[in-house]
Symmetry: C2
Subunit: 211 residues, 2 copies
């Protein structure tokens, strides 16, 4: 069984917003789809280990910010590689609140949805949340696909590169999020020991040199 | 509420295969996602009105052929604008059978999955089918996104056209599937009255001239 074929399923890139009491929190996900039009229901798939999961169940709702292709890796990493349990993920991110108080991004999105929780199904590792759309707003932009994220944003390949090629030698890579230090602040070796991965916050000493 | 934002959700393009007794049937869908890795489960969303829906419930399984960008509009239309109740959709399509007898496409795919039906949820208009992956095979190709289908395959725009523009005047368009007669067999007016839409089979007299 060649499970590599699963990589050919297509997804978008989203920040799911919810709240812990009145505090906004959220996480990046790639699985948000519309499931019916009448009533207008969408579905999102979220791992049980994400703090967002329990907050959706507690607050009975969530928002979806649809990421655009312009979203920088750091913004995605901010929502993807930390836990909202002990981090205020929205601290440095411009956001607004929907009518029911769910956070939605103001930058790098092509729109958002607000949903009340209609039902959910708990599978072994993930919950399937079905949300009834109660608010929606469009913004200009091209939706980022999960494939685009892997090829261009994480890979740092040019947008239209047919094949992703780059010299891996001498690049210091974060073992957690895959961020590659690009040398823009000088040689990696000269960075202070207090320097941390700008995406996931892992310490400098954890970085590995590829090649 | 600006529901146009729902167009910014990202999907792939798939032919869902199943069987009516031993007869292969299926339909095109855009909503197939992986939901867990352990166990390996995927989800597909299918309208109740699709014959495929009841056949999945009866046969307790389905296949997913992941369409590649090369798939011609006619092949998609073959699975999307007819009913498997009274049409043998696989009659003119090269296909193989998975171990459990579900049909998978041999052309224009970047791989397939075979699933046994794990569970399903019936919403008002659609069923959410959760399938346990029992077979999988990759093939070379770029997965077609739903956006690509609308922009390039249906729109007939060049692959990399930043803006979709074409002269709509004088083009005869099928009111059912959107197929546009391209004049390759001579003027539309000269086609015999028995001529039918090559994609969905609607009669010539139903065509409308845009512009």
């Amino acid at each position: 069984m060649d499970t590599m074929v699963l990589r050919n399923l297509t997804y978008g890139m989203f920040v799911l917003g919810t709240k812990d009491g009145s505090r906004p929190t959220g996480c990046t996900v790639n699985s948000v789809i519309q499931v019916t039009s009448e009533p207008l229901l969408i579905m999102a798939c979220v791992n049980h280990q994400n703090f967002t999961n329990q907050c959706i169940k507690q607050s009975q709702g969530f928002s979806v910010s649809i990421l655009s292709e312009e979203t920088p890796a750091a913004a995605i990493g901010n929502f993807g590689f930390r836990s909202g349990r002990d981090t205020d993920k929205f601290a440095s991110i411009p956001y607004g609140l929907t009518e029911r108080g769910y956070p939605v991004l103001k930058l790098n999105t092509c729109g958002w949805l607000e949903c009340t929780l209609e039902s959910f199904t708990d599978l072994k590792t993930h919950s399937l949340f079905i949300g009834r759309v109660t608010g929606a707003e469009s913004a200009v932009g091209s939706p980022m696909t999960y494939a685009y994220y892997h090829r261009v944003v994480k890979g740092k390949a040019p947008v239209n590169a047919p094949i992703f090629e780059k010299p891996l030698e001498r690049l210091w890579t974060c073992p957690i999020c895959g961020y590659q230090y690009d040398g823009s602040s000088g040689p990696f070796e000269d960075l202070p020991n207090s320097w941390k991965c700008p995406i996931c916050g892992v310490e400098k000493g954890m970085f590995k040199q590829a090649g």
